[in-house]
């Protein structure tokens, strides 16, 4: 529409394009009015707090007194804070174990459930139930199996003559166990995303491949994988970002609502968001917590940029 008006304006030399300007400014005024609720919300609830948080990151702020500017002190503290580095390592470990595992399993599950067999929709629904359950419910399920004294897992192990494990109380097992539980909980959601992606792969590609004599594996590798690579890219980027920010699952499963217990045995499940929350709200070092939040943002930003750069190598867009 703009183009039409401009052409009209240019064609008639010497005539002031009054209609253009009036429609333009009236349109843009209306546009602004319509967008204003969102803009106000954005400034008040997003931009404002972001700016404040950046300011806090460079201050000493205990919430009970106004913030005091301290420059780079918080970042210096972060550099020499062993708990921060442990949290970072735990977060990286959790993410690196979780994202590939969930992505791969969800894809295989989606492929398996993408057939037109009867009753498959019940399977799909069954996988979605953990997704919509709260972590507190998942805690009870996990407890039924992995409770060191009353759980089924240790009962089975001792019956087989093996040692009972401490499970979530074991420093080495805690994070892998959390990964397994989280994969089980979230797989349904990723599976649904993949199902949508799979359905958009044109069937004639498969037919053509069959004519050429391709088997199931070949079809999967050379048609399915490349065609859904945009979906895979989306899933990997989103999972990485959300997993890096994991808080609720760790807090519920290791803390059971008690902040002082969360972070698992000897901080072996202390992740960045948990550390951030504790520093800010329990220890009243909100300035330091804000600095950690911004460092977390920088890390995620760098990771996402990296993934965007690498996508040219393996993501196939139509």
């Amino acid at each position: 529409m703009e183009q039409t008006i401009e052409r009209t304006g240019r064609a008639e030399n010497g005539v002031r394009p009054v209609p253009k300007r009036r429609r333009d400014s009236s349109e843009s005024r209306w546009g602004l009015i319509m967008v204003s609720p969102y803009l106000i919300h954005f400034v008040v609830f997003v931009a404002g707090p972001l700016a404040a948080s950046l300011y806090f990151g460079f201050s000493d702020y205990d919430m009970l007194n106004p913030p005091k500017w301290t420059g780079l002190d918080n970042f210096a503290r972060m550099g020499s804070d062993p708990l921060f580095w442990k949290a970072l390592r735990n977060t990286l470990l959790f993410t690196v174990l979780f994202v590939p595992l969930q992505t791969l399993l969800a894809l295989l599950l989606a492929v398996a459930l993408n057939q037109k067999l009867r009753g498959l929709k019940w399977f799909r629904m069954a996988h979605f139930i953990p997704v919509i359950s709260s972590w507190t419910v998942i805690l009870y399920v996990a407890d039924a199996i992995f409770n060191p004294r009353f759980g089924a897992a240790n009962a089975l192990l001792t019956r087989l003559g093996l040692d009972a494990q401490r499970w979530l109380q074991d420093e080495k097992l805690a994070i892998p166990l959390l990964v397994v539980i989280a994969v089980w909980k979230g797989i349904g959601y990723i599976m649904v995303i993949y199902l949508a992606g799979l359905q958009s792969v044109p069937g004639d590609l498969y037919e053509a491949a069959e004519i050429d004599g391709a088997g199931a594996y070949r079809k999967f590798r050379s048609i399915t994988l490349p065609m859904i690579s945009p979906t895979t890219f989306l899933v990997v980027v989103m999972s990485t970002i959300t997993t890096f920010q994991a808080f609720e699952q760790i807090y519920v499963l290791t803390g059971r609502g008690d902040m002082s217990q969360a972070g698992g045995p000897n901080n072996s499940t202390m992740v960045l968001m948990l550390d951030l929350y504790r520093e800010g709200f329990t220890y009243l070092r909100m300035g330091y917590a804000s600095a950690i939040a911004w460092v977390l943002f920088m890390i995620l930003f760098a990771l996402t940029m990296l993934q965007l750069r690498v996508q040219k190598k393996w993501v196939h867009y139509e």
């Binding site: 009015i33 009970l64 060191p148 004294r149 709200f281 009243l284």
Partner: protein, 470 residues
């Protein structure tokens, strides 16, 4: 655009804008009146006037204060009743309340203080009083206490006293720790009940006879499987209902009197730890992994899975609800006959940022709570805490407040050797660091010497972090 269409769009835009703004403002409706008045700077005449603006009754100025407290359902309605009594007796003061369950209350409190909308007076868990006092968020009540309260009439005023002799809160309810024991489990094992003469060693000896594994063997018998304990002799966790009284009665401790220096790495502490680690390694005392198997740390005793526990007065409610046949006695002595019991005085504190007029009104409430016999009686009847007014605590209202436990005098007797939990501005943080290290010793992952040394370093670091700045 048609004129009609334009008008509709304008209305729609205005409507959505209003809804958006109302949406943000709606959440604060509760504190609307109070926030507009208490956010004004303290002590200026202008703020006093604006604060009393809402209702100028005939003659005197009416002051409105915001009163915050944490509670569960039962105590919430009783508290509101008592507040109603207060406002009836003080017609020039109106009270707006803000209550929530424990966790949510504190989450909200810190952000409210940051925003300047915190209550004028709030109920603080005893262990958090110094957290707010040393950061300047609550008012110094020393002068008012000296003027209006006779110290000898009340328990616990000194628990809120800092190293400089300033008082920061007035107790609302006292929680002191004693030894709870399950009489049925003792009877079943044909073991005689604990006495006042017990030492911690006596306790452990008896506890061994009360620790039963899945096959019914006790910890004293051969073939006892310490990995399959069904019933523990003693349940024990964290600072208050765990290691604090053991350390203290052995002559050790965590912080010095100034609260700024760690005294963790000491010989008495080592002996105390040896007692604890021995008990846990033999399966007699619950270790941190055992505790994680239960719904919560405090659920072990009421569920009948432990014969004894160190418990605050508030644990009486859960034990009674579970229908346990139990009683209480003094906590055991240390090897030199020293006694210590943990005590927490949950206290009323006054917001430092409230105007003088509001602070005065808040003080009227605090005074009312402590001095009025009727208020103390009604709160004692709830059974949640020991009343702070000595005359009520020493009367039948408290001592015969219920048939279980029978030996309620033990709570009052314990107050004579009770100690606060080395509370200071960074209490939660150093307790966390201590527990981290203690847990390694308890689970046998680290030697006691190493654990005490690293606990000492970690705790000192936390203290220096806060106190070196000042």
């Amino acid at each position: 655009m048609e004129k009609k269409g334009k008008k509709f769009m304008l209305l729609a835009a205005a409507a959505s804008l209003t809804m958006a703004v109302a949406g943000c403002g709606g959440a604060n409706n509760n504190n609307g009146a109070a926030s507009s008045s208490s956010s004004a700077p303290a002590g200026t005449a202008a703020s006093t006037a604006s604060g009393s603006a809402p209702a100028s009754a005939a003659g005197g100025e009416k002051t409105e204060i915001l009163l915050g407290y944490y509670s569960d359902e039962k105590s919430d309605s009783k508290m509101k009743e008592l507040i109603g009594q207060f406002t009836a007796a003080h017609p020039n003061i109106s009270v707006k309340t803000q209550s929530a369950p424990y966790g949510q209350f504190y989450q909200k409190l810190d952000t409210q203080i940051a925003a300047g909308t915190a209550p004028d007076v709030w109920l603080s868990d005893g262990v958090y009083v110094m957290k707010y006092a040393e950061r300047g968020a609550v008012r110094d009540l020393t002068d008012w206490i000296a003027k209006d309260l006779k110290a000898d009439d009340y328990y616990g005023l000194e628990y809120n006293k800092d190293a400089d002799g300033k008082y920061w809160g007035v107790p609302q309810g006292i929680q002191v720790g004693v030894l709870f024991y399950n009489k049925d489990l003792f009877d079943k094992a044909k073991v005689s009940y604990p006495t006042d003469d017990w030492t911690w060693e006596d306790l452990k000896k008896t506890a061994a006879r009360l620790t039963v594994d899945a096959k019914g063997k006790t910890a004293e018998e051969s073939g006892f499987d310490k990995n399959n304990v069904n019933q523990f002799g003693l349940t024990f966790f964290s600072i208050t209902e765990g290691w604090f009284s053991v350390l203290k009665s052995y002559g050790g401790g965590v912080l010095d009197e100034t609260g700024t220096k760690s005294i963790i790495d000491s010989e008495p502490n080592k002996k105390a730890f040896e007692w604890m680690v021995d008990g846990m390694s033999r399966g007699i005392i619950t270790d941190p992994v055992d505790l994680k198997s239960f719904q919560s740390n405090t659920a072990v005793f009421p569920s009948g899975s432990a014969a004894m526990r160190i418990g605050l007065y508030a644990r009486v409610l859960a034990a009674n609800e579970a229908g346990l046949n139990y009683d209480v006695t003094l906590l055991p002595k240390g090897p030199d006959g020293k006694r210590s019991a943990p005590v927490i005085a949950n206290s009323w504190v006054v917001n430092a940022k409230s105007s003088d007029v509001k602070a005065q009104a808040a003080w009227e409430w605090v005074k009312y709570w402590a001095t009025q016999d009727d208020v103390q009686k009604q709160w004692a009847e709830l059974g949640e805490a020991i009343p702070v007014k000595k005359s009520i605590a020493e009367s039948d209202v408290f001592l015969k407040g219920g048939d279980k436990p029978a030996n309620r005098q033990a709570f009052l007797d314990s107050l004579s050797f009770a100690q606060t939990l080395d509370v200071n501005a960074v209490w939660e943080e150093w307790v966390g660091k201590f527990n981290e290290n203690a847990q390694r010793a308890f689970l046998g992952d680290q030697s006691i010497d190493e654990a005490l040394k690293s606990a000492n370093t970690d705790v000192q670091k936390v203290l220096d972090d806060f106190y070196k700045k000042k």
